[in-house]
């Protein structure tokens, strides 16, 4: 008799413990945990904005956490925490492909679904990768935009990061292909590397313009190259005469876009990337999206193509005077 209150307590707590998962399943919202490479980075903050919109529409809880700097080990730690917490789905941008995959596989073993975005993990550690841009998409968009601005004729030049970087070579390949296929009156007169330095890009662009008086456009396919080329064009007093376009970040180019030096900056829409990734994560968790699917509909953004296990965000996004102020990264 003496032990009754204690036993009662024990029984009660056992009953609650058994009930808890049931309550969780029935009542609690689906929990989506989103992992950026670095949580303070404006690029990922903008992804988060899209993810929050999706979470609201879907009625799920969104956790957003990541390292303060790009730190692969810290990413693993955060995933371990989420496994303990028992989230439903992890949506991850991976700093280190091999490093993070072990942690993601562990999460999958615990029944947590995994989708990657921005930077992929190893294929067996996630169900889908939301691919923000294919090299083909980037190369074709750059070339089409260059053609649009020059009425498809005249000389143009390219500034790359380095002549050997694999992503740059890949993009160059598609730019060349598009050029030969569609724009016979345009001529690529030279390609110069800027070593990913804005200041070197400026010097290169200055020399390019003096060596090629008929140059109509400079295309920079590395992000520091775009403001570098723009500053050179501005200092040469050739604003409008020599157009500048490139692959870059809105914040680094806003000034020149508003001054009319740079016409278009090409990248993907980061808010859409966050939105689509969240929708995909939730659909995978609810078993609505399974491997082998050919397309996927994500809320108000419409239907996206799936190639293998890659969900394609689609054509790159063009930032220009009209829309660049809506983006802050």
């Amino acid at each position: 008799m003496k032990y009754l209150p204690f036993r009662l307590l024990l029984a009660l707590s056992l009953a609650f413990a058994a009930l808890a998962p049931a309550v969780h399943a029935a009542d609690q919202k689906l929990v989506v945990a989103m992992l950026p490479k670095a949580k303070g980075n404006a690029y990922f903050i903008s992804c988060k904005a899209g993810a929050e919109k999706a979470a609201k529409e879907l009625g799920v809880t969104l956790l957003f956490d990541g390292p303060t700097d790009s730190n692969a080990a810290k990413q693993n730690e955060i995933i371990e925490n989420w496994i303990t917490l028992g989230v439903d789905v992890i949506v991850a941008a991976c700093e280190n492909k091999e490093g993070i995959s072990t942690a993601l596989r562990k999460a999958q073993k615990q029944g947590i679904k995994v989708v990657t975005y921005d930077a992929d993990a190893l294929p067996d550690s996630r169900t889908f990768f939301v691919n923000q841009a294919t090299p083909e998409g980037i190369g074709y968009s750059l070339m089409d935009e260059a053609a649009r601005l020059t009425n498809s004729e005249g000389e143009f030049a390219i500034i790359t990061a380095s002549l050997t970087a694999s992503n740059q070579r890949e993009w160059m390949k598609y730019i060349q292909a598009r050029l030969t296929e569609k724009y016979p009156k345009m001529k690529l007169v030279l390609t110069r590397p800027c070593d990913d330095l804005k200041d070197k890009a400026q010097s290169e662009a200055t020399a390019m313009m003096s060596a090629n008086p008929n140059l109509k456009l400079i295309m920079a396919i590395c992000s520091p190259g775009v403001p570098g080329a723009a500053e050179a064009v501005k200092q040469a007093g050739k604003t409008g005469k020599v157009k500048v376009i490139g692959l870059g970040l809105p914040n680094e180019n806003k000034r020149y876009v508003h001054e009319g030096v740079t016409d278009s900056v090409i990248l993907w829409n980061t808010m859409d990337l966050g939105y689509l990734s969240t929708y995909a994560g939730v659909a995978v968790a609810k078993n609505e999206l399974k491997p082998g699917a050919k397309s996927f509909k994500a809320g108000t953004l419409g239907t996206f193509e799936i190639q293998g296990d890659n969900i394609l965000l689609g054509k790159p996004f063009i930032f220009n005077q009209g829309n660049i102020d809506q983006f802050d990264f």
Partner: protein
């Protein structure tokens, strides 16, 4: 004549290159692009003055690129906070001098080899900056570009200032006792000590000056555009060391002049625009610069062998 043979041969090579350009690509000599390119090299010249001193002192500083980046970002952030341009300049020079003093304490004070110390500071400063900025540009306030002057005035000011500084260094190294001390320490530390010079103090001073000049150069660079890229100093160390070596400053210390360095700097700086004007593939750029450096080192090697015989 013989004494300045090395400087003159570099200047001769530069002259040949410029003559070739005049014939093959006269477009190179348009005033605006030429002034723009000269302005872009002005900060490099300032850093190279310091590097010439460091190498004459038989040391090396490979951390200047990182120092340059740290000063650029520091100065940029202060300017963005609304500090007046004069104070920002002072801050940039001070940050540089502090970084230089740190190297100096380890090298002159603890007598550690400068190549190891500055390799360590090169890497740690660069990574530290990556951690803090993650590559994000610093946006500068509107009035800072060209110190509020017109573009052409600003460019001429920067070029004239860099050339003036070069002249000051040339005179100081030749005629001031402080300048002669640097040669003395670089030639033979022990002999310098016996002559009453404090080699550690000279070495320390040289590193502080190197840092201060790097801070000054960083300021001269950030006022050329409205944004600061945190990577801006990457590769600067190679550029200036190459200029100094090509210009005939002996890597073994004690010999060379800033005039030779100036010719070397111009020669190397002309390679890239020359290739652009001649429509030669960019692949050649680094190869040609490398060949010039190799040629200079071989010439030095042959000369010292002849002298030792």
């Amino acid at each position: 004549m013989n004494r300045y043979f090395r400087e003159l041969s570099v200047a001769g090579a530069l002259g040949l290159l410029l003559a070739l350009l005049a014939v093959v690509a006269p477009a190179f000599y348009q005033p605006q692009p030429l002034l723009s390119l000269a302005t872009r090299e002005a900060p490099t010249l300032v850093v190279a003055c310091g590097m010439a001193l460091v190498i004459i002192c038989r040391q090396i500083d490979i951390s200047v690129g990182s120092q340059f980046s740290v000063c650029s970002v520091g100065a940029g952030l202060l300017a963005a906070h609304g500090w007046p341009a004069g104070l920002v300049l002072l801050a940039s020079v001070s940050i540089g001098a502090l970084l230089g003093a740190f190297n100096g304490v380890l090298i002159a004070g603890l007598r550690l080899p400068s190549i190891v110390v500055t390799l360590a500071t090169l890497v740690s400063l660069r990574q530290g900056l990556n951690l803090v900025r993650q590559g994000e540009f610093v946006n500068l306030p509107d009035g800072l570009q060209w110190f509020g002057l017109s573009q052409t005035d600003g460019q001429w000011t920067l070029v004239a200032f860099a050339l003036g500084l070069l002249l000051v260094f040339a005179v100081a190294l030749r005629y001031l006792s402080a300048g002669r001390f640097v040669y003395a320490v670089g030639t033979d530390t022990e002999a310098a000590r016996l002559a009453g010079i404090n080699p550690q103090r000279v070495t320390f001073a040289v590193f502080v000056l190197m840092g201060a000049l790097t801070g000054l150069a960083a300021m001269m660079n950030i006022i050329q555009s409205p944004q600061v890229q945190p990577l801006s100093g990457n590769g600067l160390e190679l550029k200036v060391i190459a200029a100094v070596v090509v210009g005939g400053v002996a890597i073994s210390g004690g010999r060379g002049s800033v005039w030779g360095m100036f010719a070397g700097l111009l020669l190397l700086a002309c390679v890239s625009p020359t290739l652009t004007h001649l429509h030669i593939e960019a692949y050649w750029e680094k190869a040609i610069q490398g060949a010039i450096i190799l040629l200079a080192v071989v010439a030095d090697g042959l000369r010292s062998r002849k002298e030792n015989r």
